[in-house]
Amino acid sequence: MLVHRNPVHRIRLTLAATFAFAALLADNVAHATTLAFPVLAPVFSKLETSLHDRPVVTDLAFLLGLIVLVMMAYAARHIAFTLNRLFGKQRHPYLDIDTADWPMLTVFIAAHNEEKVIAGCLTALLNSDYPENRLKIVPVNDRSQDRTQSIIDGFAQRFPDRIHPFHRLTGKPGKAAALKDALPLAEGDIALIFDADYIPGKGLLRQLAAPFFDPEVGAVMGRVVPVNGGSNLLTRLLDLERSAGYQVDQQARMNLRLVPQYGGTVGGIRRSAVDAVGGWNDDALAEDTDITFRLLIHGWKTVYSNRSECFEEVPEEWSVRIRQVRRWAKGHNQVLARHWRGLWGSRFLSAREKVDGFMLLTIFAVPPLLLLGWGLALTLYYLNASSLVALVLPVFAVMAYGTLGNFATFYEIVMAVLLDGNRRRVRLLPINLLCFFVSLFAITWASVELVTDRLLQRELVWHKTLRYRSASPT
């Protein structure tokens, strides 16, 4: 233990481990050793002197080095995913199932004050080519105060055999709680869930139902495409982000048999699987992430279907976007706190599933970490800019991250946009830095709030995302 507490040894250990790893990679241990130690001997000597003089600076430098390593790990992940999408084998195993004895489906539409959009969603579902006698549509009207209830009831009167409304007048607010209350209305083992602003295409239900023929599949996720991408700069930037997230990130995880994520809409769950892992959680802000990880930990797979596309609305105002990101961050970090131990301990998962799952789980913890890193770098600069301690480790790490890391997410966006065939919109990429900074601070803020909420025992509040479409006729 003394070895680990001594900063000199810690630095040495880190450097030695780095070179040992390099040697292993090169498959030439002797060469790496002889290369490393003569070069590093004077550095070690100076470091030792410096470390004894300034232990605080050493600790900060060490922490910064670790943060940069984390960032580089995420950067490597982004690059690996992008390369996989470009050159790897693409998996769409269930997409070709277009004829079958289709299972009974219940489609839930989460609706809270959705008068502008609910009719469009219901009409689209009624036009689906899924067998009528195997489809039950349940609009879940969660305490709406606008015309949502009357619009739904109008549809139910016209299609009494197909639409079965669930009006929720009281109870815990939030989508997760409303769906939990509505789930007992489901018929059959498969429940698909859409938000009210989604417009499913004719064949989408079949595509989302097909993976459930695999008895190992617990959840399915389709691709979300912004319908209002051209509204303003924000929506155009979010359109780029969505492309990267689905076209590259989710599909690469599917290809590599890692951890595709169920996103809570344009997707579905196997009810028996969810029951087997403890049922639907209504105290989670990100119930989709919560379901993904509980299923994963207990050996169920989540499937991503990149060609099962569905339109959604993205926020058109920065304030709405910030609120949305804060909700995601809080919910995700809540799931992190609940499930990280279970993830590492799961006997159903391969090592790479655990690593990817953990990186996915901690994704909203990265922005605060990044801000901390920036703060540390500045602090180190002002504490001792010329010290080897403050320079050697951070500078090399920051250089490596600057070369690889900063470009990784943008690289992912570029490739996603190109794969989608929309080449000109990629010109907006530099402005995406704006989104990056906004998310960085919003997520950090949310993480701090999560901690204070916990300390002060405040209940987490679910905020609905604003809709922009003009009201549709009933």
Binding site: Y94, D96, I199, G201, G229, S243, A276, R424
Partner: protein, 351 residues
């Protein structure tokens, strides 16, 4: 700082600023004057059906496909008026869709790169090539024929030996592929590979003794009727199981065993002689149906599906799907529903 150093510093700063600013110029341009802001196209009516082209044709032309109230037919050749069906050169130089109001019988090989619609049957001798054929009756093409885009026969579609059916073949009746045929995507109530045994030829399997998956070694109950095995799993012969099975290794199902449920294995599935799965058969590796075995649910592999003689997938009243990058069907196998070989499908058998 010397003047040279100062100059170098200024050049460096200006150069860096320029490189930093350059990407923002097209970004600014695209922001202020958008040239690509439409939402990604998500086709609302994309139904993924194999007979999509045939249905579109029929819908566009109405009824039997010959009445054309809504489309301009001025560029179409009414076959019986325009040229002799036996004139090979005429077929080869057609530059408009062909509409035949009677049965077409071609006695010499032709190459037609325009869509052909026959009101009744369409028959062509071997060695012909067509881009697309739509028939309200039967389509019968001789050996070594080629269809490069799609063919749909309302009553049936028959390809002679070693023919190639690229992209989509569909029928409301039967698709019959002789030995040596290659295919990609097919849909019909019955798809027969080579010579299919008559119903009376199929042996009736003995009823297997009722058994429980939980009796098998390494079996883990996952709730309900779902079971899982870590590693390989061999299901004994001549048994009857109720439940679904997930296997992380290779799954071997014994002869004459019947499973009322779905099966999934990651490294391979082998159904023994006359084994029967009433649900789906899903695998990340090869699925091999030995002679006489059958499945009622979808069969999906991420590598190969091998169908031996007498295999049946789906049934007349319950069509299903077979999909894999490669599908090799032995003469005598039959599928009901959709057969989709993403990379290659072949019918093989002893001469």
């Amino acid at each position: 700082m010397s003047p040279i150093e100062l100059t170098l510093m200024v050049v460096f700063v200006l150069g860096t600023m320029t490189f930093l600013t350059l990407p923002f110029l097209p970004a600014w341009q695209e922001w202020r004057h958008p040239s690509d802001e439409a939402a990604l196209p998500v086709p609302a009516h994309d139904s993924n059906q194999v007979s999509h082209f045939a249905n579109s044709w029929r819908k566009q032309r109405g009824g039997d496909g010959l009445n054309t109230p809504s489309v301009d037919t001025s560029n179409e050749l009414q076959l019986q008026h325009m040229f002799d069906v036996h004139d090979v050169q005429a077929w080869n130089h057609i530059d408009a869709p062909v509409v035949a109001t009677k049965t077409v019988v071609l006695a010499t090989p032709v190459e037609c790169l325009r869509p052909v619609h026959a009101a009744v049957d369409f028959r062509a001798v071997g060695g012909s090539t067509f881009s697309s054929i739509m028939s309200s009756g039967w389509i019968k093409l001789g050996p070594l024929s080629r269809v490069t885009e799609w063919a749909h026969g309302d009553k049936g579609l028959r390809l002679g030996g070693f023919s190639i059916g690229l992209r989509r073949l569909s029928s409301d009746g039967t698709i019959e592929l002789a030995k040596g045929c290659c295919f990609e995507r097919m849909h019909a109530p019955a798809v027969q590979f080579g010579r299919t045994p008559a119903r009376s030829e199929r042996p009736v399997p003995p009823a297997g003794s009722p058994s429980e998956f939980s009796e098998l070694p390494g079996m883990e109950h996952r709730g309900g009727h779902l079971y899982r095995v870590n590693g390989n799993c061999t299901v004994p012969e001549n048994r009857h199981y109720v439940g679904s099975l997930i296997v992380t290794g290779i799954l071997t199902i014994g002869a004459f065993t019947r499973i009322e449920g779905d099966v999934k294995a990651r490294q391979g599935i082998r159904l023994g002689f006359h084994a029967e799965v009433l649900g789906s058969v899903i695998c990340e590796d090869t699925i091999h149906f030995l002679a006489g075995s059958s499945a009622n649910g979808p069969v999906t592999s991420e590598t190969n599906v091998l169908l031996d003689h007498g295999v049946q997938v789906g049934h007349e009243h319950g069509p299903t799907s077979i999909s894999a990058p490669t599908i090799i069907a032995e003469s005598g196998a039959v599928a009901h529903g959709t057969v989709w070989a993403r990379e290659a499908g072949v019918v093989w058998g002893l001469a």
